[in-house]
């Protein structure tokens, strides 16, 4: 029992409720939000420390021992994602201060922001599938509101699609849970893992596994990403950064958890399905990243490529590749948020999001330019930066486990990432400025601060990869050996 585990859920939830009552006091909202996100980071840091010294931490809600009642579980994987999520969330909050505008701030932007964080942290920490559904809904409802906030025609249209897709996938999720409960009589993840192992994973269980994979793939944008590029283009940049960094990762987390803990008996079916989906996602994402000429869409398709890449690591499912998955997930959360920050600065500096109308920004904004360049290298996976370690572990075990074709696709997708982002770099920062009027961003320094912090993390995660790897391999060990997780949850 460790009551600390509920705090990542409670802090943002309480903050959000308090902020609702302070609608007109924008300054106060900002201060409380800032305090709250720092508390999040602090608590997440303590949880990571406790997990690293004392092993997997659990919290039985209301004292109901598993398999009854809801259990919260922080293994290293969940704890690390909560920590990185808290850091990225804080950076997005400070970026919002500079860029979101007072109208949105006065219309409940910050409460929705914190409710979104509540759902994200809850999804990472919960050890119960139905509770996972509830946390998904919390973050989805908050994300509906964040997309539509502002109410322009484009936003309304995209939100309609986004809500419809998610309502359908949530219905599918509940239906799957109904089947699962009928087949096993439990919804506790650790208990499910035992029951599925006892009963064998044939027939019905495979159907349930594939249904769950479909549900989570819609959330993660794995192959079923048809909704993602449009929907993620609608809201302002700070919200896009938050979505790109956190929402798809929650889906990937759920896939990882389900297919390393519960449905592990028939990798020939489930894991090779994930592998096919991963390959197709990387290829289709690469086509999209090459096809478009506006910044938003290129970045969105880059999200999709990295989702495919991480799913490739999940499908290989050796300890080495799972280490890679954890490492790369952490890197990708930070790097994608930073990518959208820099994109937002570029758009507000040049007054357009079309590549062809940009140019020559390096003279006015050398720091933004060079940060973008280094970030591109990090996303591609050039050694001293954060993307390298994760990619090398996944690709290495891909070749080792006879997933040669997939590993080659993964490597090729890295080149596409390089090409698409260097193309952006060239057209945005080189040459002369093409627009007559120069639009000066209002709060350049305030936007630069959170970007600089994330940039420092990208560098530190790369340079200190050995230290990070100590934590990551602890996470990978639990993913590779479900018995560790089950024993920690079911011991009492």
């Amino acid at each position: 029992m460790n009551n600390l585990l509920v705090l990542p859920l409670l802090i943002p939830a309480f903050t959000a409720v308090i902020l609702i009552f302070l609608k007109e006091r924008v300054d106060l909202q900002r201060i409380i939000s800032a305090v709250s996100v720092f508390l999040n980071i602090l608590v997440a840091g303590i949880i990571v420390y406790q997990v690293s010294t004392k092993g997997i931490q659990t919290l039985y809600m209301g004292g109901w021992l598993p398999p009854y009642g809801i259990v919260f579980v922080a293994d290293m994987f969940a704890a690390l994602l909560v920590l990185v999520g808290a850091i990225v969330g804080a950076a997005c909050l400070f970026f919002s201060f500079a860029s979101i505008g007072e109208e949105r701030e006065r219309f409940y932007y910050y409460p929705f922001f914190h409710f979104l964080l509540t759902g994200v942290f809850g999804s990472f920490l919960t050890g119960d599938l139905f509770n996972l559904f509830v946390c998904f809904e919390v973050l989805l409802v908050a994300s509906y509101a964040l997309i539509v906030l502002g109410g322009s025609k484009g936003q309304l249209r995209e939100t309609l699609k986004y809500v419809l897709v998610n309502v359908i996938s949530s219905s599918l999720f509940v239906a799957t849970l109904a089947y699962l409960y009928a087949a096993t009589g439990t919804l506790n993840m650790a208990h499910l893992s035992m029951r599925v192992a006892e009963a064998g994973q044939g027939g019905v269980m495979n159907v349930i596994a594939v249904l769950l994979l479909i549900v989570f793939s819609i959330k993660a944008g794995l192959l079923l990403f048809f909704w993602l590029p449009d929907s993620y283009s609608a809201p302002p940049v700070a919200v896009r950064a938050l979505f790109g960094a956190l929402l798809t990762k929650v889906g990937l987390y759920a896939i990882t958890r389900t297919f390393t803990l519960i449905f592990i008996q028939e990798p020939g079916l489930t894991h090779s399905l994930i592998a096919w989906m991963a390959g197709a996602t990387m290829i289709l994402g690469a086509i999209g990243a090459l096809a478009y000429n506006d910044l938003g869409r290129i970045f969105n398709y880059n999200i999709i490529i990295s989702v495919g890449f991480i799913a490739f690591g999940i499908s290989v499912a050796t300890q080495d590749s799972l280490n890679g998955v954890v490492f790369y997930l952490m890197h990708d959360m930070v790097a994608k948020a930073l990518l959208f920050f820099l994109g937002g600065m570029i758009i507000s500096a040049s007054g357009t999001d079309r590549l062809k109308e940009m140019g020559g920004l390096i003279r006015r904004y050398p720091w933004t330019g060079w940060m973008f360049f280094v970030l591109t290298l990090a996303l591609v996976g050039v050694p001293p930066l954060s993307g390298f370690a994760g990619k090398v572990m996944m690709v290495r075990s891909g070749f080792g486990q006879n997933h040669v074709a997939l590993a080659l696709i993964a490597l090729a997708s890295s080149f596409i990432v390089l090409y698409s982002l260097i193309k952006v770099f060239q057209q945005v920062f080189w040459g002369g400025e093409k627009r007559e009027e120069q639009v000066k961003p209002l709060h350049y320094k305030a936007m630069m601060a959170p970007a600089a912090v994330l940039f420092a993390i990208v560098i530190l995660m790369g340079v200190g990869a050995e230290t990070v790897n100590g934590y990551v391999s602890q996470a990978g060990a639990v993913l590779a050996d479900p018995a560790l997780y089950i024993n920690a949850v079911m011991k009492e």
Binding site: F130, F133, V134, E137, V141, Y144, A145, V148, G151, K153, G154, L156, R157, T159, L160, V163, L164, V167, I168, S170, S171, V174, A175, L177, A178, Y179, Y181, A182, L187
Partner: protein, 112 residues
Amino acid sequence: MELVVALAIGVLFTVGVYLVLSKSLLRILLGTNLITHGVHLLLLTMSGLKTGAPPLLGEKAEAYVDPLPQALILTSIVISFGVTAFFIVLAYRTYRSTGTDDVEGTKEERQQ
């Protein structure tokens, strides 16, 4: 009894999917509603219908009904209630700003 409910769930799903595939926003909305109803009934049916007494200690019965699916349904109904409310408001706002509840109509807007 289970069979009848299962058939009802099937009908709800079929009609719901049919409505979701139509062009009118209102029909889509009703379609998602029917699908969620189907899902809730499914959740109830999956644990078996009326297998014993209410799960209260004073009943002293041989068999009790499993209370968990009912707790799950309650949660799920509340969530779908909230999402539906939001969806209706969203659809209304879209109707007000585009002047049509035809989904194709909002698409043409974009090509201009």
